[in-house]
Every structure is written in structure tokens, then in C-alpha cells.
């Protein structure tokens, strides 16, 4: 290699294989860009298809009516309310638990061995398939504790299902609080609880709530666990108490999707639009909160 006459040509692309390499180098970003392209293409085509089928079927009755054998009259009212109550209740259970767990893991048990065990358990919980949560909920909550196929059984199941995700988000939120702040408080003789209450929580809370909202948005889309707990019931009334029977939106959609008639396909598509719109709104809310939080952080 070192003996060649040195000239501009010899320092430029050398040999045929070098040309090939140069060409390939230029192609590479396109090749790997295909991966992202495929993902985006699927997303876009899915949204377009659902919209094209369902947009015509959108109407107020979709939201105000109960399910019916007649696709023209059918609506998701009971499912919407069922989702609202079940997911809402699960959030009320899950979010405080997650915050408390996150606080314990970071502020109290930081370096100790059992915090490792706890984290490990949370990771394991995250890996359990969602339908298994439903099966366990059926055996333990519905029959074992005798809660029946009720809103509360569904809420507990969803709460445990989303617990790992929201907990991790809360831990990350707490981690954004710099140690300096804590040390300042400790140095003044504050107890850990006081540090949490006056220093950590105020700063971490917005991000935690964002995580909670995202957890809710995940729970809203879950069909499998509720399918096992509640079954595919024909609910024609509003849920009135935590012990009521219920259904949720994704399940109602599953019901309609399973019917071959075109009218039900359209109905399902319209229902999907409603569900996606809700999820979009929730995620937008989360992003909005995140922006506001960052602005406060800059100012504060």
C-alpha cells in the first residue's frame, strides 16, 4: 500500500471494490430508512382505512344509544360509560399506588437489597401477558373474592396491569429532582417524609400525572383482560355501581368486528374513530402538561 505513486487520483476512490463501497455508503440511509417508512406506512394506511370506512357512520347516536341487534340503532353508550368508570376507578387505585411505590424505591429503600427485589418484581409484572391478568382476575377477584363480573373487578385488574408502567414513569419523574434540593432540606433537619412532601413531590408531580394519563390511555385500549372478566355481555344499561356488570369500548368494538355484516363493520370503524379520538385527546393532554411542566421548571 505504501509504494504507490501518490497523486490526487491515488488518494481518491481506489480500485473497484472501493467504488462499490462508496456507492453502498450512499445507499445505506435509504435502505435503513425503509424500516421507518414501513412503520409509518402501516400507521397511515390503517388510519386512512378506518377513517374511510367509518366516517360516514359517525353520528350522535353512536354515543348515546345502547348496543342493539340492529346496526342502524346501535351505539356505544354503555361501553363508553363502562370504560369511563372502570378505567377511572383503576386510575384511582393505580396512580397513588405507583407514586407511593416510586417514592419508597427512590427515597427510602434506595440502595438496599430489597429495592432490587422490588424492581425485579415490577419488571416481571410488566412482562405478564394482559390476558393472563384477566384470567387471574376471574379466578381471584370475580370468584375468589366474590366480586362478581363487576366494574370493581375490572378496575383492580386494569390497575395491576398498568402498575409497572406508571411506577417506572413515577420513578423517572422523581429522578429528575436534583439531589442538591434534597440535601438542602436534609441539612436543615427534615425527615425523609418532609423532603418528599415539600421538595420531591411538588417538582415530580406533573411528570407523574403525565405518566398516569398515559397509563390511563393504555388501559382504555385493553380488551383482553376485560373480555375474560366480564365476558361478551350485551349490556343495555348504564353501570350504576362498582358492582354492576359492565363492558368497555374495545370490547364493544370486538363484538361488532366479529359480525360479518357490512353495517357492523362500518359501525366498528366509527367506534374505532371515537376510541382513537379519545386516546389522541388524552395523549395531547399529557404532552400539554409536559410542556407546561417544563416551562415551570425553566421559570422556577
Amino acid at each position: 500500500m505504501g509504494d504507490q505513486v501518490l497523486s490526487a487520483e491515488s488518494l481518491s476512490v481506489r480500485g473497484r471494490s472501493a467504488t462499490v463501497r462508496k456507492l453502498f455508503d450512499g445507499l445505506m440511509p435509504v435502505l435503513v430508512g425503509v424500516g421507518v417508512f414501513v412503520a409509518v406506512a402501516f400507521l397511515v394506511s390503517l388510519l386512512l382505512y378506518v377513517f374511510s370506512v367509518g366516517i360516514g357512520r359517525l353520528s350522535p347516536t353512536l354515543v348515546t344509544n345502547y348496543p342493539s341487534a340492529n346496526p342502524q340503532e346501535a351505539g356505544m353508550r354503555s361501553a363508553i360509560l363502562g370504560s369511563f368508570f372502570t378505567v377511572g376507578l383503576s386510575a384511582l387505585i393505580c396512580i397513588p399506588l405507583s407514586i407511593a411505590t416510586a417514592i419508597y424505591l427512590t427515597e427510602y429503600a434506595g440502595g438496599k437489597w430489597w429495592s432490587q427485589v422490588l424492581r425485579y418484581n415490577i419488571a416481571n409484572l410488566a412482562g405478564v401477558p394482559s390476558i393472563v391478568f384477566g384470567v387471574v382476575g376471574l379466578g381471584f377477584l370475580v370468584y375468589g373474592l366474590g366480586l362478581g363480573r363487576s366494574v370493581i373487578a375490572g378496575a383492580f385488574t386494569l390497575a395491576i396491569l398498568t402498575l409497572p408502567y406508571v411506577t417506572v414513569t413515577c420513578v423517572e419523574a422523581i429522578r429528575t429532582v436534583p439531589d442538591d434540593q434534597r440535601f438542602g432540606a436534609y441539612a436543615l433537619g427534615a425527615t425523609t417524609f418532609e423532603v418528599v412532601r415539600y421538595v420531591v413531590l411538588p417538582r415530580a408531580l406533573p411528570m407523574m400525572l403525565t405518566g398516569g394519563i398515559l397509563g390511563i390511555s393504555r388501559a382504555l385500549g385493553e380488551a383482553a383482560p376485560i373480555l375474560v372478566i366480564s365476558g361478551l355481555l350485551f349490556i343495555r344499561e348504564d353501570p350504576t355501581s362498582p358492582l354492576s356488570e359492565f363492558t368497555v369500548m374495545p370490547l364493544q368494538l370486538y363484538n361488532w368486528i366479529s359480525r360479518p355484516q357490512l353495517a357492523f363493520q362500518q359501525l366498528a370503524a366509527a367506534g374505532i374513530i371515537v376510541l382513537l379520538a379519545m386516546l389522541l385527546a388524552l395523549n395531547a393532554l399529557a404532552i400539554y402538561l409536559r410542556q407546561r411542566y417544563y416551562r415551570r421548571l425553566e421559570a422556577g
Binding site: 422490588l118 405478564v128 418528599v196
Partner: protein, 308 residues
């Protein structure tokens, strides 16, 4: 705060009250964090106890090796292989799709995309895993199979494993993309510089240095994606159908383990019946496999992380 003149560091009423408050809070927080552990215990105990009941009626050997699953018929056989086979096939298809596409996306995001492009595209890719799976099922059944797959494979059934696999692949693609992206971004810049200084072109740096260095993270992402694919219910239930037959023909309908559970749940399995108990046996079996996969996945990441 104690009487004036008392040194502040000596115990006084209000300080010990604050300590008590702290202790109580600590106990409360601890109990909260034990919920996740308790949940795991409940999961395993519940699954085990009903499975034990199940296995008093059905031999474990038949369960693990039998090739007939006729749980909901009059003459009942409980060989899990058809369900297991369907689960593995659909998950394999999903991973076969998600791995190259996800890895390519991860490489693009990590090594080629500019800051702004990345901040735009990464959330878009991650949205894919945020779409409710019933929507994917709908898309697979009413669009993917009739409009796309039928053009390539005209004989394909309304319910088929290929559509299920592809759709689950789209669902888990973000897992591979995101974790691979993280793994590659963690590779020290030093190594890239060294490769450039030896006369490597960018694609050589990426393929010969970065990807191999990030391999553990990439492999872990694939394993985790596979585990997630195995547990996916709605797509399989909607687009895969309820045909518990041992077959390798992906154009046919086949029933995965989660889809079987969904089928039973859709029907009526009174408490205490063998159908009811089969839910737990299948659920336990599914959980054990996915837990093993997740365990391996996490281990793989850890073993290579030590290398840095």
C-alpha cells in the same frame, strides 16, 4: 418547638411527632410497593391452584404432548400442541417481520437521522404500540387479508396466521426499534472514531462496529418482542380464528393460546367446569413461557452490559 433555651437537637414533642409521621409514611409507602409482589404471588397461586384442579382430570403428559385440542366439544382432548404451535408460528412471523424492519428503523434513528428528524419520527414509531389491538385486528381481518394478502396468495383463508403474524409484527416493531436505538446510542463515540480513522465508510462503521457492539441490546429487544407477540390476544382472536388444529400452513386459520382463552371467555364456562379450569392451565403455560423469555432477555442485556 420546645421551651426557649432548650437546644434544638434534643428530643422534644414536635420532633418526635415528625418522626412518627415519617415512620408511618414509610410503612405506608412500603406496603404500597409490596402490592406488586403480592400481585405476582396472587397470579401464580391462582393459576397454580386451578391448574392443579385441571390436572386431576387431564394428564400432564397428554397436555404437553397431545396434538388434539377439543376442549369445547363433547369429546374432550387437551393436547396443547396445536395451540402452542399456532402461538409460536404467529409470533415467529411477527418477529421475522419486526426484526429487520425494527432494526433498520433503529439504525436509521440512531445513526442516520438528524436531531429534528429523530424527535419527530421516534414518537411516530412508538405510536404503533399505542394503538389498541382490536383496531389492529379489525385492520388485519378486513383490509390486510382481503385487499393485500389475497393478491399475493389467492387461496388464503379469511382467518389466517399470516395476517395475524404480520399485524403483531407491526405491533412489536417499536419494541425492536426503540431498544435497538437505545443500545446503539449507548455505543461510545470513541469506537466509531477509531473505525473512521482506519479508513472505514459510514456503513462499515455502522454494520461492523456499532451493530455488533449493540448486539446484546438488539437481541434482547427481539426476545422481548417475541414474548410480547406470544401474549397478544385480540389480533389473534379477530383475524386468526378459533380453529385449534395443528398445522403449519400459514394461510389457514389456527388458534393461539391467548385466542383460546378469549374464545372460552366469549362463551359460557361456569365456575368449576373443566373448560373453566382449562383457562388457568393454558394461562399458566403461556405465562411460564413468556416469563422464561423475558428472563432470558433481561439476562442477555445484563451479560453484555458488563462488557463496557
Amino acid at each position: 418547638m420546645g421551651t426557649p433555651g432548650t437546644p434544638i437537637y434534643l428530643r422534644s414533642n414536635s420532633i418526635s411527632r415528625r418522626r412518627i409521621v415519617n415512620r408511618v409514611a414509610q410503612a405506608l409507602f412500603l406496603s404500597a410497593s409490596l402490592v406488586s409482589t403480592a400481585a405476582l404471588v396472587v397470579i401464580f397461586v391462582t393459576l397454580f391452584s386451578e391448574s392443579v384442579a385441571f390436572f386431576t382430570h387431564v394428564s400432564i403428559i397428554e397436555f404437553l404432548t397431545g396434538t388434539k385440542w377439543t376442549a369445547l366439544f363433547a369429546e374432550k382432548h387437551f393436547g396443547i400442541l396445536p395451540l402452542l404451535n399456532a402461538t409460536l408460528i404467529t409470533s415467529a412471523i411477527a418477529v421475522a417481520f419486526a426484526t429487520p424492519a425494527g432494526l433498520a428503523a433503529g439504525i436509521y434513528l440512531s445513526e442516520y437521522a438528524g436531531k429534528r428528524t429523530r424527535s419527530l419520527l421516534k414518537p411516530v414509531v412508538e405510536t404503533l404500540s399505542g394503538i389498541p389491538t382490536v383496531v389492529y385486528g379489525y385492520f388485519a381481518l378486513y383490509f390486510l387479508t382481503p385487499q393485500l394478502l389475497r393478491n399475493v396468495l389467492p387461496g388464503i383463508g379469511v382467518h389466517n396466521a399470516l395476517a395475524v403474524g404480520l399485524m403483531i409484527g407491526v405491533l412489536v416493531l417499536p419494541i425492536v426499534a426503540s431498544l435497538s436505538d437505545d443500545a446503539m446510542r449507548a455505543v461510545p463515540e470513541d469506537l466509531r472514531l477509531a473505525a473512521y480513522s482506519l479508513g472505514a465508510r459510514k456503513y462499515q462503521v455502522v454494520l461492523r462496529v456499532v451493530v455488533p457492539a449493540a448486539l446484546s441490546g438488539i437481541v434482547a429487544s427481539v426476545i422481548l418482542a417475541f414474548a410480547r407477540a406470544m401474549g397478544e390476544t385480540m389480533i389473534a382472536a379477530i383475524a386468526g380464528g378459533f380453529r385449534p388444529v395443528l398445522t403449519f400452513d400459514v394461510t389457514e386459520s389456527m388458534q393461539t393460546m391467548p385466542a383460546y382463552i378469549a374464545q372460552v371467555a366469549t362463551g359460557d364456562a361456569p365456575h368449576g367446569t373443566i373448560e373453566y379450569q382449562s383457562l388457568f392451565a393454558v394461562g399458566l403455560f403461556l405465562l411460564l413461557i413468556t416469563a422464561a423469555l423475558n428472563f432470558i432477555g433481561i439476562r442477555v442485556v445484563r451479560r453484555w452490559e458488563i462488557r463496557y
